[in-house]
């Protein structure tokens, strides 16, 4: 085994391959994050359920009952919960990933490993939360007598994959920016908050009328819309919109990886 240490190039496929070599460390980071998270809260794993459920109830009352928000013929709790599940995965992944390098500063400055592992493990940790919270959705669907059709079920992994790419891409970019500019993290929660309102979580995209294509720029729009269609069968899946979302998140991933790899070499020096 021979390693040559030289001034770093920006990007090479070798770096991506290296991640598979370090898959055990990736696993340990995920394990650590889950363990610590559920140890720190007294209700443990129930915390992953608590948050989306309470948000769902409040939103159902405020937007469903009081504001009478349209929900494309689906009971509002189910409508909002599908949106919230995906949204909380995406926004949680973004905000946690943006901090993951700084919170692991001690390790970054002392040990070598492919830095991509850290954001990746953070997003996967959120994915576990997502699966835990999905149990509630199953309960809701049983309660409201909804059975998803076969195509709908088959489409779900694709939707999840698109959200995953978008989260990793956006997260990588924010994580790298956050190392360099330390004030970004104070502004970020605010932007994520705004992002919620330009994503069709609490309202259907149809509400925007002929401008609804603008919403499609956000990769989560197509995903949330398709997830509702797939699970409740209230409308056919809009494949065109889904394709735009898929390409959008792929672009985000590509951009995120490139930016991350470009700045990666300085992390240990400036963090």
């Amino acid at each position: 085994m021979e390693v040559i240490i030289k001034p770093k190039k920006t990007f090479s496929w070798h770096d991506i391959k290296e991640i598979t070599k370090y898959h055990e460390l990736l696993y340990f980071f995920i394990w650590r994050d889950l363990k610590v998270r559920y140890k720190q809260t007294s209700i443990g794993i129930a915390w992953a359920l608590f948050q989306p459920v309470i948000t769902m109830i409040i939103f159902s009352i405020v937007f469903g009952r009081l504001a009478k928000m349209p929900s494309d013929g689906v009971p509002y709790p189910i409508f909002i919960f599908i949106g919230l599940l995906l949204w909380q995965f995406f926004s949680g992944a973004l905000s946690e990933t943006s901090n993951c390098l700084i919170s692991n500063q001690a390790i970054i400055t002392k040990i070598y490993f492919p830095r991509l592992i850290l954001p990746l493990s953070t997003v996967i940790t959120r994915l576990v939360d997502f699966f835990v919270a999905s149990i509630i959705l199953i309960g809701l669907m049983v309660y409201y007598h909804y059975t998803p059709n076969l195509i709908g079920l088959l489409v779900l992994p694709i939707l999840l994959f698109i959200s995953f790419m978008a989260s990793v891409g956006g997260g990588l970019f924010l994580a790298a920016v956050n190392v360099k500019y330390r004030d970004v993290r104070y502004a970020l929660p605010f932007f994520i908050q705004i992002l919620l309102f330009i994503t069709p979580v609490i309202y259907p995209p149809s509400i925007a009328g002929k401008y609804s294509w603008i919403l499609a720029i956000n990769p989560m729009t197509g995903v949330i819309k398709a997830a509702r269609a797939a699970l409740t069968g209230n409308a056919p899946i809009n494949w065109e919109l889904l394709l735009i979302s898929g390409l959008g998140s792929l672009l985000l991933l590509f951009f995120g990886v490139i930016y991350f790899k470009r700045t990666e070499k300085y992390f240990a020096d400036i963090i």
Binding site: I5, P7, R32, A106, K110, Y112, V177
Partner: protein
């Protein structure tokens, strides 16, 4: 023997702004661009044509050396000589600016013990996590688990979160995981400076075993000359990012302690580089040796009473400060290390005020030779957090010329001269 590490023309440039820990705020960058777009552009252009080279500094400057398989190499030098930067590049934590290193083997680096320890996790969980972070495969950690626990001696507390551990236990556990690492090349930075004396001895023993029995290659950075002498055959002396001397350990240490350093008397304590956060809020600004005439000096007469005067500047107010001084001989033996807390004396300082403290040594009779002083200030009530520390900050020489009525030293053994009560019993 084959060369396991080859370092060729290695250089590393840092930006001074980064070194001082100044973070850039995106807000400022944006405001600057909007306010003064031309100035910003000019700055960028200047940077490209390298007019503003004065912002850079070379932490390593054209380093060349090689290490044979099975060799144990020590690296010594002042604070800020580039030792840590070199280890960081060998460990792949940060890339070099120029040059290259060829490494023929698997590297394990121990730049700190307990990297990645999580306070909420138990000892058992941290062993697994830390092992993985240090690069041990899961199977190996499991097979060595019992040995690690036994070496650390924490058996009972295995399932207690490490936040409840005493600092000694914490360090023992951390070192124990590290000591069971089995890479071809082990990179070690200053880890021997932690833990209690007995455990330090155990660690040095363990490292001796590793190198002698298993023929592992080790690169060791330490301020502890005793440890370097014990472990390393070959030593590299760095200064200002350059290799000053490579060779037989005792020769290099002798050169470093007696000749090289003795020339460097005008040391600027205030601007001496610190490790990590040390010296950021409260720092030593001066350290002077005061002779019996109350004048600063670097030469003392044999048996002359002397004092060490420390100036400390603090950006915010602090109380319960403990000051410690260590005096070391030129061959790396600790002579004495008193602290102000030994006589229950703790200091307070107000924000932006300086504090000057003098420790007078009236009865410490050092034999002729060169001595080094390490100064530390820590906060007693915050787990003895080290606020600033300068290892081997200044040196002084005790000359052969005796003070007042003392007789000249016989020149034989020892570091300390004493006057026992002599009497004839029979």
């Amino acid at each position: 023997m084959s060369k396991i590490i080859e370092v060729k023309n290695l250089s590393k440039k840092y930006n001074i702004a980064h070194q001082q820990g100044g973070y850039i705020a995106l807000r400022d960058v944006i405001v600057n661009i909007i306010k003064n777009p031309f100035k910003h552009l000019k700055h960028k252009v200047k940077k490209i044509i390298r007019r503003e080279a004065n912002e850079d500094f070379w932490a390593l400057d054209d380093i060349n050396f090689s290490v044979e398989r099975g060799e144990v190499v020590g690296i010594i030098g002042h604070n800020g000589a580039g030792k840590s930067t070199l280890l960081k590049i060998i460990s792949q934590i940060t890339p070099p600016t120029n040059g290259e290193i060829i490494i023929r083997g698997q590297i394990g680096s121990l730049l700190e013990v307990g990297t990645g320890f999580h306070p909420e996790l138990s000892g058992r969980e941290n062993i697994m996590l830390n092992g993985a972070i240090l690069g041990m495969p899961k199977k190996e950690i499991i097979s060595k688990f019992d040995q690690i626990v036994e070496f650390a001696g924490i058996g009972k507390f295995l399932d207690t979160p490490v936040k409840h551990y005493s600092s000694g236990m914490y360090v023992r556990l951390a070192f124990s995981v590290a000591a069971h690492l089995e890479p071809d090349i082990l990179i070690v930075d200053e880890v021997l400076a932690v833990g209690d004396v007995e455990f330090q001895r155990k660690c040095i023993g363990k490292m001796n075993d590793i190198t002698k029995k298993e023929g592992r290659t080790i690169i060791l950075v330490s301020h502890n000359m005793g440890a370097i002498k014990n472990l390393c055959k070959k030593t590299i002396l760095l200064d200002k990012g350059r290799v000053i001397k490579i060779g037989d350990t005792s020769e290099v240490i002798d050169f470093y302690m007696n000749k090289f350093h003795a020339q460097n008397r005008n040391i600027d304590i205030n601007n001496m580089p610190r490790t990590g956060d040390r010296g950021r809020v409260i720092k030593f600004t001066d350290c002077k040796i005061i002779n019996s005439e109350h004048e600063p000096t670097s030469n003392l007469l044999f048996c002359e009473p002397f004092g060490i005067r420390l100036s400390i500047l603090s950006k915010s107010s602090y109380d319960n400060l403990r000051i410690a001084i260590k005096i070391e001989s030129s061959d790396g033996q600790s002579i004495t290390s008193p602290t102000s807390n030994d006589i229950n004396l703790l200091f307070n300082v107000e924000a932006d005020r300086s504090l000057i403290v003098e420790a007078s040594f009236k009865n410490l009779l050092l034999t002729p030779g060169l001595y080094w002083i390490t100064i530390t200030i820590n906060k007693m009530d915050m787990g003895q957090l080290v606020l600033d520390q300068l290892v081997r900050a200044v040196n002084f020489e005790v000359t052969e010329v005796p003070h007042q009525d003392h007789k000249a030293h016989s020149g034989t053994y020892g570091y300390i001269h004493t006057y026992p009560e002599w009497r004839e019993i029979k």
